[in-house]
């Protein structure tokens, strides 16, 4: 443990309540006063725990590296803090400011305790800055990670919502695809289609790609995979909703889909009904049909 660390540790231990009071004052002044009483109590509680953890970390660990086990509880505290702030929708600047604003009372304290020795003071401040910067950056990283998790989860939910499997008739399923087909989405589409084939005992699945903006080799590959998997389960697939533009693209790319395709869902349904030996009759003209 270095001399600098000893000095800062001694200062924190001696002046813990004072540091906390000054820090909280600074936080309130810095535009946080309008945050409401509930957040203020949260903040003061977190500030108290932060100083406590800082004291322990400084006593046991190194200033240069906060990824060691000595800083584990500090990291936990900061993770909690940024997680709850990210969930509340507080901006990243405000979240980081919480850590960075601790510099003000700490530097002030250092200045008062080392009068006259500018060289020592500068070195102490440099040490403290490095530590607090690391802690602040760690907080931002956690904040970012929480937000990314949130986005990922929403994406997942959107995926599940956007791939419905519809029962059109006894033994006929429809899968209207909307949006681009990537491998993650194909996986979900495939799984939900196969599950429905089992649960409904369907023999025919109509895959409608009216809502798929472009079909390239990769999308075609994914379609083929889905169709092959359905075939292995014992269900035939009909591809429908191929727009003229896409038909041209498929030919130009030289793709071989090897599947029955129909221009519209209606045509596909007609074929599916025929395959399952069913007909739809027009009741308005029974005489004409019988004649």
């Amino acid at each position: 443990m270095s001399l600098h660390q000893n000095l800062i540790l001694a200062l924190i231990e001696q002046h813990q309540p004072q540091l906390l009071a000054e820090w909280l004052n600074g936080l309130m002044r810095g535009g946080r006063s309008g945050a409401g009483p509930h957040r203020d109590t949260d903040t003061s509680e977190q500030a108290k725990r932060f100083i406590e953890q800082l004291r322990q970390g400084v006593r046991n660990g190194q200033f240069d590296d906060i990824s060691t086990a000595d800083w584990a509880s500090m990291r936990e505290l900061l993770e909690d803090l940024s997680r709850s702030r990210a969930a509340q929708g507080i901006s990243p600047t405000e979240t980081a400011t919480f850590v960075f604003s601790f510099k003000e009372p700490l530097f002030e304290l250092l200045r008062r305790s080392i009068p006259g020795d500018a060289d020592l003071l500068a070195r102490q401040i440099w040490q403290a800055t490095r530590l607090l910067d690391q802690l602040g950056l760690f907080t931002i990283e956690c904040y970012q990670r929480t937000r990314e998790e949130l986005i990922g989860r929403q994406q997942q939910e959107l995926l599940e919502l956007s791939t419905p499997v519809v029962q059109l008739w006894d033994g006929i399923l429809a899968l209207p695809l909307i949006g681009t087909l990537d491998s993650a989405r194909t996986q979900i589409v495939m799984e939900s289609l196969l599950e429905r084939i089992v649960s409904s005992g369907a023999e025919i699945a109509i895959i409608d790609i009216t809502g798929v903006p472009t079909v390239d080799t990769l999308v075609a590959q994914h379609l083929i995979k889905t169709i092959s998997a359905a075939r292995l389960m014992g269900a035939d697939c009909i591809l429908s909703g191929i727009r003229p533009q896409i038909a041209q693209t498929i030919v130009h790319l030289g793709l071989e889909l090897n599947v029955i395709s129909k221009a519209t869902m209606a045509d596909a349904l007609r074929l599916a009904l025929h395959r399952t030996r069913k007909t739809i009759v027009d009741r308005a003209a029974p005489a004409a049909r019988e004649a």
Binding site: Q187, M190, E191, L194, E195, I197, V198, G201, A202, E203, K225, S228, A229, A230, R231, L232, M233, G234, A235
Partner: protein
Amino acid sequence: MGEIPILKIRDCLLVSIQVDMHDRLAMALQDDLTQRIVEDRARGVMIDISALEIVDSFIGRMLNNIAAMSRVLDAVTVVVGMRPAVAITLVELGLTLTGVRTALNVDKGLEMIRGIIDRGEREDDRRDR
């Protein structure tokens, strides 16, 4: 090491694979099955794999082989009851079993075999006329 039972339902043979397949068991099954197709003059073979949670490339090839052997002996092969997870795995492995017919369950498989045999006989009749 037990052997896989082969059940006869009218002119179809039903094989239900309930245990993990390994090389020797697969060879024995191919032997038994071809033997039985000839002895019972079966027209259809149904392989039920609904109990299999893992189907690897080896079993995939075995299914293909059985279908090809049955075809030579003039019997139709239908693989029934594949689980969704197994189907996805096979597709990812690039094994789409193009030579094998599939059906959702034993009921539908039986219906499919009936349909194919009937269609074949009708075509023969037409040719005779």
